[in-house]
Amino acid sequence: MPDLIGFLELTLVKAAPLIFAALAGVVCERSGILNIALEGALAAGAFAAVAASYETGNPYLGAVAGILAGVLVCGTLGVAATRFRVDQIVAGTGLNVLAIGGAAFGIVVMSGTPGVTPEVHAFGARGEAVLVFVALCSAFVLQFALDRTPWGLRVRACGENPQAAISAGLDPRRIRVVATLIAGVLAGLGGIFLSLGELDLYSDGMTAGRGFIALAAVIFGRWTPLGACAAAIAFGALSALQFVLQRAGVPSELMQALPYVVALAALTGIFGKSRAPAADGVPL
């Protein structure tokens, strides 16, 4: 029994950053922006949180910086994709390289040595639990907001048929930028969870592809917040299971590969027809 509780705890800890990132992906894609910069946003959020906590000694100010960094990365994509009509995939790739490279650069500026920052004041176990709770609540709030509020209807209209949204007097560009800003807050929280929740430092490669697993969770969750959250928890359970099964001799790479294999399979539609928003990733 303690084993089971420990497993569930570990599942939620592994799932929380994925939930944040997946929700960020959902809100972007529903508004018509395919955000592949989530990986970079997680890294930027995680690093900025540590850097600010290092400078001020206050993890809450660190959290503020982490959220701002996430907003900066996702917001840049949003503005570039709407005002400058850039290719979202190219811009997202650039932001990933920039954010991850910038964080690596920042580590050296901060501590003089590459690879890993010094340990800073972090949130500890209680803060970690609070962030898990925030992640789960965000999924419900976002589901309600997208399904039941005028704002949600507008976001969905922009993602499905922006021309119709324009005819109805909406400004899809503004709505898309706002969606990326919300995504930035969520991705920033995911980054904070990694650096100040689970640990108390930032190291190169810390995000470890979570921004991409999150995109898989979005597909598997059929572009709904609760679905993506469920998929993120399932992927979290897989990584938690890894620790159990590794002792039983199952190679850890196999467990790590499962979310990605599942996502590829989901692209074939074998889990039932699911469809991306019609204008997902289409420049306006």
């Binding site: 400058f84 995939i89 190219v90 920039l98 991409f212 294999v261 539609g269 990733g281």
Partner: protein
């Protein structure tokens, strides 16, 4: 003329930002750029190392450009390159044969590996209408996991301690172009491939079909071009090019396969392909420019105390800045 001016302005802005980053790191930008230039171009050994980096970048860059010409975003050159290197490493460690037999087998194994990896995304796209961006992102991660699993697990070589394959017999190493350097005939292969692709794009029916599918998919479909087949072929060939590039690093540079094969060549390749405007000849020049950054960055770090990650920052900014250019109409989802 306007293009030249834009390019100069773009380069100037990036240089200024790089200088700013160096100041931020507490270094002298002039010393930083000087060290970068010295590390990349300061002598025969440095230039040859820059050309090694140029060739390593050129293959995935041509791969990205090939898919992009067909309106497909191959963001998975990194994964295809790794699988190509993995196949090459496994084949190379297994075969002991004279070079003229072993080397073609090693390189072909790499092309096959990369082609398979790109082909998966191609099938998903052609058969199921799955987004190739998402597919190749997933395949990138899977490539690293597969390589880690195979070389540490079932195909582990008993005489090797780390996560790598056994060393290739020296008879299988690529012949050097310059003695005592790592510059091999891979560089010549890369240049030849650029020339070949330029010819294919400009002068062949196949190249025309690719460009038609990329630039005007609806019109191409009405004209009888099979968009599904084009997508499948484009992703497979693109993967094979990247895989071949990964394979050249095994008998050419490392003489074995390990997962440190690529410092992200497949991602930098996106910047190279875009800077080169998807034209193979310009891509050669762009790959040389990025090769200078890659090979000079360590010297810059050692001599001028500028963190080498400044290069990543500049590359990221370059990709971001170039995203504003229109290159091709993204093919509409088939499903």
């Amino acid at each position: 003329m306007k293009n030249v001016r834009d390019a100069a302005l773009f380069a100037a802005v990036l240089t200024a930002l790089a200088a700013g980053a160096m100041l931020l790191a507490g270094a002298n930008p002039i010393a930083g750029f000087a060290a970068l230039a010295r590390g990349a171009l300061g002598g025969e050994r440095q230039v040859s190392e820059t050309l090694v980096q140029t060739s390593a970048l050129l293959f995935p860059s041509l791969a990205v450009a090939f898919a992009f010409r067909a309106g497909l975003f191959n963001i998975g050159a990194e994964g295809q390159l790794i699988v190509g290197g993995l196949f090459a490493g496994l084949a190379g460690a297994a075969f002991v044969a004279p070079g003229w037999i072993a080397i073609p087998i090693v390189l072909a194994a790499g092309a096959i590996g990369g082609g398979l990896w790109g082909g998966v995304a191609g099938v998903l796209r052609a058969r199921f209408g799955g987004n190739e961006v998402i597919a190749t992102l997933m395949l990138n991660v899977l490539a690293v996991l597969l390589a880690n699993y195979l070389i540490v697990g079932p195909l582990h070589s008993p005489n090797v301690a780390g996560p790598e394959t056994a060393e290739l017999p020296s008879s299988s190493w690529l012949p050097a172009l310059l003695p005592h350097t790592r510059l091999t005939i891979a560089f010549a292969f890369a240049l030849a491939l650029a020339g070949l692709l330029r010819y294919v794009f400009a002068r062949t029916v196949f190249g025309f079909e690719l460009r038609a599918a990329g630039e005007a998919p609806q019109a191409a479909a009405r004209a009888g071009i099979d968009l599904r087949r084009t997508a499948l072929v484009a992703m497979t060939v693109s993967g094979a090019i990247a895989g071949f590039g990964g394979a050249t690093l095994v008998p050419g540079v490392l003489h074995r396969f390990n997962v440190e094969l690529s410092p992200g060549y497949g991602f930098i390749a996106i910047a190279v392909a875009l800077v080169g405007g998807l034209d193979p000849l310009w891509i050669v020049l762009a790959a040389f420019a990025f090769g200078i950054l890659q090979s000079g960055s360590l010297t810059m770090q050692a001599l001028a105390h500028v963190p080498k990650d400044v290069v990543s920052v500049v590359e990221g900014l370059a990709i971001l800045g170039l995203s504003a250019r229109r290159f091709a109409t993204r093919a509409p989802d088939v499903a």
